[in-house]
């Protein structure tokens, strides 16, 4: 899941300066689960902005809508008229959704209302934790299901550094040492022998370091469709 966090009201209001009709667009998928940009958050933000602008003597109109997700054209096409009727779209979606709107409606202005933070999961209700770096070549089968890139501060591939203390990373006592987790889990699985295999330097070309990425379905290629 893409973990996002809503921008501060102050930052959002600064971005909205000069616009009169604003469409606040929520996303019904990841942003909803993170309590950052779902239907509920759209309503709360709209109410906050209406009151803030009224107190400051500004006349702005806020429209509210939430789509299933902002990263698929079909859901954006459904709201084409709403987008065109607004001076600007305040997107409460991850960076993908914001850009999708900009791409689908090139004559419309779009602002990001939330910050895209990382790929992760809901560790506990209200707490989201990073788990994946989207490196493009998953090797967690070698490390007991725990990613040493996303969860180790140094991204080490062959065991812990010397800074690990009592199972905690040297960057913070709140951060578990990923390699402690890996060792503990491999021990529980009876797979400690995996640690005897030295992982070679990673080929980072599959990650973002190799440039913007694209995947084309092999099925699509065979059919020759464009």
């Amino acid at each position: 899941m893409i973990i996002t966090k809503q921008k501060s009201l102050e930052e959002i209001r600064k971005m909205l300066a000069g616009y009169g009709k604003i469409l606040i667009l929520g996303c019904g998928t990841c942003a909803t689960v993170c309590f950052a940009g779902g239907e509920r958050e759209v309503a709360i933000l709209a109410s906050s902005l209406r009151m803030a602008e009224k107190i400051n003597g500004k006349k702005k109109t806020f429209f509210e809508h939430t789509v299933k997700r902002q990263c698929d054209w079909e859901f954006l096409d459904e709201i084409a008229e709403k987008v065109k009727a607004a001076d600007v779209v305040l997107s409460l979606s991850c960076g993908v959704g914001v850009q999708a709107i900009a791409e689908r409606f090139p004559n419309s202005r779009v602002l990001p209302g939330i910050d895209t933070c990382f790929l992760g999961l809901t560790a506990e209700p209200g707490i989201w934790s990073e788990r994946c770096d989207a490196c493009g070549h998953c090797l967690v089968h070698e490390t007991g299901g725990i990613c040493p890139i996303a969860r180790c501060a140094k991204g080490l591939f062959n065991g812990p550094c010397g800074g690990s203390v009592a199972g905690k990373c040297e960057i913070s006592p709140d951060v578990p040492c990923a390699w402690q987790l890996i060792i503990d889990h491999l021990a529980a699985l009876g797979q400690l022998d995996k640690l005897e295999v030295i992982q070679p330097p990673k080929d980072w070309r599959t990650s973002h370091s190799g440039g913007p990425r694209k995947i084309v379905s092999p099925v699509r290629e065979e059919s020759g469709e464009k």
């Binding site: 509920r40 709360i44 109410s47 906050s48 009151m51 803030a52 009224k54 107190i55």
Partner: protein
């Protein structure tokens, strides 16, 4: 603002105060008719948007009454309400309305301050803050 009759909206569960149902009738108590009491099944039922919309409609103050933290009739409803109120107070400060326009109290039906006392104090607190700048002009 001595002459101000603030519009106060109260959200209360019936468990923290047995008299809440009677107070909502306001027959025996000297309440301003501008105090509106909403009985909810649990203070935890009151959503963030409910309180925001109440302020947006022009309420000068909002009061949430719930059970004591470890005595909530619905386990942890009042604790949930407490967290929401704390969050909204921050929002009200950012908006410019001021966090003092919203308060929550946790009551016991058998001891401690009585709801009419708390409501009375809240009315005075809101009087001191003045009329809400969001005030909606009412049709006359």
């Amino acid at each position: 603002m001595k002459n101000l009759k603030p519009r106060l909206v109260v959200f209360s569960c019936p468990w923290c105060c047995f008299q809440m149902a009677d107070l909502s009738g306001a027959t025996q108590l000297d309440y301003s008719p501008q105090v509106k009491i909403n009985i909810v099944p649990c203070s935890g039922r009151v959503e963030i948007i409910d309180l925001m919309k109440t302020f947006e409609s022009g309420a000068d103050g909002v009061l949430v009454l719930g059970c004591l933290e470890d005595k909530c009739h619905h386990q942890n409803g009042s604790l949930t309400a407490k967290r929401r109120v704390s969050y909204i107070k921050g929002l009200l400060k950012d908006i410019g309305l001021g966090e003092k326009r919203l308060e929550m109290f946790m009551l016991s039906p058998s001891s401690g301050p009585k709801p009419e006392e708390i409501i009375g104090n809240m009315v005075e607190q809101v009087k001191g803050l003045g009329s809400s700048p969001i005030k909606v002009k009412r049709k006359t």
